[in-house]
Amino acid sequence: MANDTKFRNRKFKSVGTRPPRPDGLDKVTGRAKYGADTFAPGQLIGLVLRSPHAHAEIKRIDTSKAAKLNGVKAVITSEDLPDLTNGDRDLYDTLENCMARDRALYDGHAVAAVAAIDAPTARKALKLIRVTYKRLPHVTDVDDAMKPDAPLVQPRVYTRGVSPKPESPSNVAKVSEFGHGDVEAGFKAADVIVEKSYKTEQVHQGYIEPHACLASVGPDGHGELWVTTQGHFIYRNTCAALLGMEVAKLKVTSSEIGGGFGGKTHVWMEPVALALSRKANRPVKLEMTRDEVFRSTGPTSSTSIDIKIGVKKDGRITAATADLRYQDGAFPGIWAMLGAMTSYACYDLKNVKTVGYDVLVNRPKVTAYRAPSAPMAAFAVESTIDEVAAEIGMDPIDFRIKNAAKEGTKSSYGPTYGPIGIGPTLTAAKKHPHMRAKLGKNQGRGMACGFWFNFGGETCTDLNIGADGTVTLTVGTVDVGGARASLSLIAAEELGIPYERVKCNITDTASLGHNDMTDGSRGTFSSGMSTIFAARNAIEDLRQRAAATWEIPVKDVVWEDGKAIAKGKKYRKLKPLSLDDLAAASPNTGGPIAGHSQIVADGAGVSFASHICDIEVDPETSATKVVRYTVIQDAGKAVHPDYVEGQFQGGAAQGIGWALNEEYIYDRNGRLQNPGFLDYRVPVCSDLPFIDTQILEIPNPNHPYGIRGVGETSIVPPLAAIGNALSDVAGVRMTHVPMSPPRIRKAIKENQA
């Protein structure tokens, strides 16, 4: 029973309630400590010199004048970060991205760094570093990068996923094909075929807190890192490998996090801060500016996608294909592959084929952004789905319901689905009052659905009972959206005690076994499962102590409602022992009471959502405003419904910004033109309506409480839902994201012509 992962349909007392989050007070009063909020005696200020060129050979770096400047304690280049990666390609890419070696590969690529006694001195030192560049041809557009005469971004990269192995390097880093059936036969059987091409521009996660850390490495090789991250254990492993440190001798503490959404799953300047500290033998604080965040951390891909869908007049899809070209920045990734895997995951298709092309360009290294790669693929597929439904005169929701995947469907990426929620979310959307609400003047309505995999991973948890019976829950997954509240509810549920008696802490890497990071919507799924098992281990201990106290067999003791109870008439005179009683007696019953769990949490259930959007378009300026928005998503089990709704709303808000406003704009020299929130506009409260939510609970059979991850799927449908709403009101099919006023005006004019 202790580590039984199977879903048990139990009645909950704590899970499903909405108590205040334990970190809330500190966050609203400013006491919470983020990445930039800690200090060390004698700390230096680190700054990074970045390439102004999109692609350039680094002929020489002269740091001599900077090093001699009074107050400068260390200057480093790639020579201070030697290659210790031992043939690990991904690790070498990370090393090269942290500090350029022989070539700068994008505007903003780090080329040198300094540590000085204060920021003015560090800034002066940066200006004294002389870098001799030889500019090279560059490419920033994904389609241009695939052309035969395109500048080669990485001469060491040969296309993977094709056979035979290519003989020459290419900007196409990987080709990934998925699907089943015979698409040619499927298209032949179709009554109607719709083909469309789409483009989406590059966007950033836009977290409010820039990257920041405080690094300290002593001459004994021991180090500490305080950092804003989604995964401090992963940061420890990566930094230790890059710097040649022993893992146990690098202690990493995660600060509170001011947003990550995938962008803080990867190291950027943390190894640089550690290298500066090691060289200076002083703590080094390194904070990125917003400009640096945009230019040198990991946004998501810009894309170019071709969709072809064939359908019978009765509404059954006969075949579907997608060619998806995603740029990875200057280093190979898996982003097109994820687009190819997710594009048709909502549908039950007999014949489907998707091909992803991961393409290198002279832009920052792409990293994950909330359900990475799925929103762009969903934009292309879901826009075309609406076009197909219109072609055959069918309601778009009914068309989706008819073709929706269900339990037993062979997914477009391979495996057969278990119980899933796409059908129920679509049915709920069809029945939702939003779908029947009257639209105002110049308003249109659209809907779309979306999918994300979710996953689990390595997880380690401690649960300790205090002398007064209160519970300390210690986890290693960073709390990005209310996990401490959810995990406390789970501990309270298992132990049968009030939520307020549990305190959940996110601990450092020296105090707990390895935990994978908080990504893949795994935080509550994995640490929730681990918390259940740790609590059950503690309950076993508590039962044994009660049995020893009563001098009866442990099999006669049960744990109910926070108490040990002796079962059987012969024990009726034995008063139940509460957690408080057993905690108080613990010194004489074996000492500290604790439960521990170390697991690989596999079996995360896939997640689906359907969104409805009303948009208003100004007929003169084509300015848009989302006037109503509804998210319907399967949560498996909502442990703390407020924070589930918060995830739904947050993903939708980011998707709305992506759909309407946000984009990286490069000039012809490959320099980013809008690295700031004035010119890269994310939506603020006044831009958005209240985002309504509906939580569906289709239990994940592989979690004791039925939990599925909820953090990512909500960003998948908005691009397409908005595109479909725009099509409804303006009568044009938008094929280029962001669907900004100039693009809408252009589309309307072209349509009128």
Binding site: S163, Q205, A368, Y413, P415, N702
Partner: protein, 81 residues
């Protein structure tokens, strides 16, 4: 014998085969046998893979037992945000 299906880049590592028959009782045994048959598969394992057994995806639990006749899919390991 299990029919193990490949998708995405894993197909190329299996010399273009869409599926292969393997005798294995656990994921660990399955992966060991696959590398024996297709040494190129080792690169994919190093990059990271996931194994779907009857629709349930395992990324790290290599001790998982595979029931006779199960649907087994080898997938690339994914990343999330």
């Amino acid at each position: 014998m299990l029919k193990v299906c490949f998708s995405g880049p894993l197909k190329a590592a299996a010399d273009g085969a869409a599926s292969v028959l393997i005798s294995a009782a656990t994921i660990r045994e399955l992966l060991r046998e696959l590398v024996k048959q297709y040494p190129g598969m080792q690169n994919q394992l190093d990059d990271g893979i996931a194994v779907s057994v009857n629709g349930q995806i395992f990324r790290d639990k290599w001790s998982e037992e595979i029931p006779e006749g199960a649907e087994v899919f080898l997938l690339p390991r994914i990343q999330g945000g």
